[in-house]
Symmetry: C2
């Protein structure tokens, strides 16, 4: 086995949101300290981290001090500027690695990579201008969806094209950013697989969860997902294939559309994933600890699920229900320590555990 990072080592976490927060807690359980790097003030992860640096991603001095203070680096989101990574990689190993980030930071690169692996994706085309959009619409058809190649999340940077008349407005919505046109996929539901790969190539996956979105934001994940035995196996094999191809180290989320013709890969996230929060209350080793185990050279947990569960995000005013939820038997509350409740803001989540 790869040697484990020594007890008491410090893990640098880029990004101080709720994912970084829960990673820091998981790292503490294994005896590691965390140093969080985040441009925004008072990050949720900072409340449970050993150190916090508040600085922008182009602050070379701050990045250098951060990189020198940590033993390894990981991250809670994939849109880290390339220049920051170039600087940091000389100071400490980054897991998951640069190739995982390069592929997942760009929708066009990601879809091309998936196709080359022999996996199915929605039809797509590179869009550079009105002419390429017109040509792509001819080929892919409508409805379809125009997305920025980079920096999209929770439905942002996306515009639907229902008729040819929508094309110009959709292109304007991209504000000149490189874009990709994706054809609509007729799917019955979406599932995701949270998989982990260790430094020595072992892969472990949690049971797929079934996701329901609203306004582009994940609302619930239900485990087990509605899948046939074959689909369940396929889902895990697809995630493992992606992780192996990237020589991946850490936890990744793979979103899949379920169609009558099989599973279609929607997107991959090179990090712990909102749709994996259910593991906190239904597995002995959750996705956050699994990620920390993978990047520190610990043995992976087996991902065994001991209960069914529905994870429900608490978004904006959902917080009004939190004490009622806390009274419910077998309902685990997880809040993110965000000071202000805003519409559409993820404030926390609950896991409704369903015991046999």
């Amino acid at each position: 086995m790869t040697l484990a990072l020594p007890l008491g080592s410090t893990i640098g976490i880029i990004g101080g949101g709720q994912l970084g927060r829960m990673l820091s807690v998981a790292a503490s359980r294994l005896g590691f300290r965390c140093h969080v790097y985040e441009p925004g003030a008072n990050p949720p992860a900072g409340q449970v981290a050993d150190q916090v640096t508040t600085a922008t991603y182009d602050d070379e001095a701050a990045l250098r001090t951060f990189g020198q203070s940590v033993d390894i680096i990981t991250y809670e989101f994939e849109n880290i500027p390339t220049e920051a990574l170039d600087l940091l990689q000389d100071l400490a190993p980054i897991h998951p690695g640069r190739e995982s980030l390069r592929v997942s930071q760009d929708r066009l690169t990601e879809k091309t990579f998936l196709r080359e692996l022999g996996l199915r994706t929605a039809p797509f085309a590179d869009i550079t201008d009105a002419a390429s959009l017109e040509a792509a619409l001819d080929q892919i058809g409508m409805p379809s969806i125009l997305k920025t190649r980079r920096f999209g999340y929770d439905g942002k940077g996306q515009a639907r094209i229902m008729t040819p008349g929508d094309a110009a407005l959709a292109l304007a919505d991209m504000q000149g950013a490189p874009a990709i046109l994706e054809g609509f996929v007729e799917f019955s539901h979406e599932v995701s697989v949270i998989a982990a790969r260790s430094m020595d190539g072992a892969v472990a996956a949690f049971d797929p969860g079934e996701n329901v979105h609203s306004d582009g934001i994940l609302r619930t994940t239900t485990v087990p997902a509605r899948l046939t035995a074959n689909q369940r196996t396929d889902a895990v094999l697809i995630a493992a294939k992606i992780a192996n191809a990237l020589n991946y180290v850490g936890v990744m989320g793979v979103e899949l559309f379920v169609t009558p013709a099989g599973l279609i890969v929607n997107e991959i996230a090179p990090r712990v994933h909102n749709s994996g929060h259910w593991t906190q209350n239904a597995c002995t080793v959750d996705q956050f600890e699994q990620h920390i185990r993978a990047i520190t050279g610990w043995p992976l947990g087996d991902g065994q699920r001991h209960a069914d569960v529905v994870m429900e995000n608490l978004i904006g005013d959902d917080m009004d229900r939190v004490l009622e939820l806390a009274k419910t038997a077998d309902c685990a509350v997880h809040l993110y320590g965000k000071a202000e409740v805003k519409p559409g803001r993820k404030m926390g989540h609950v896991n409704h555990v369903k015991r046999a």
Copy 2:
């Protein structure tokens, strides 16, 4: 219901060891921040707390700044100097309250309180000098055990008296501190109950666990404990009686000896307790979150146990086994972030979860 402490409030935790560390993590899960006060440098709890104050318990300025920065105060150990509490109680509410501390800080006061509640304890006598020790030995008999009234933990401050010739040396071991002589109790095994009481008087208890000690230090807690149905009920009723009598708010641990004639109270701890660590992996709401819920006015969790479990402390060189343990299915590892491994030092614990 009592109004809950507002989201984002700060909880002051006195003591920065592993109990404070796990309390801080549990508080973060409910959206609270923690400020840890601890005389020792680099406390384990500080790695996962929002703020840390390193200062002694007689540093009035530091205590005042700490008290003014928090909304409520709790603690991870009961031996807090009275003067520090006098100062702090004017700055923020302290839970569990002063009476709980007064009773549990002193073995003589505690045993007297338990007797007055109608509960059974070992025979005991107040020891002030050689003459009172001789008289007590005549009355209680031998073997018996001489203990300091205050500041004992993990078997420290205790001396066995097997024959009259041991008395002088045992008394010298107390180094002039007020002491109590306790008669030996013939018990088959020890169990403990982790109970919680909320501000509005609701009581919830976890299933009793069975404890095995070695060299005065807890080694394992096994749940369920070997108890008859009546003993199980008795154990919970005893804990509830103590909590109600103290108008207690928070989680407490009650250690009980199991004897053919019934349950005998060994001692009470006005805090989360090592023998309750199993709840982290066998209950939806563990003892740490239960404590935070109680002191912040949240509804108590129901304490329902969803699996059998053996908690094993990792002491000193046990740390050499940690990666092997991490490989074991359904074995959850919890480390405390202590920099140095020392013989007899509690470095972490594991929960071996036994699914039906």
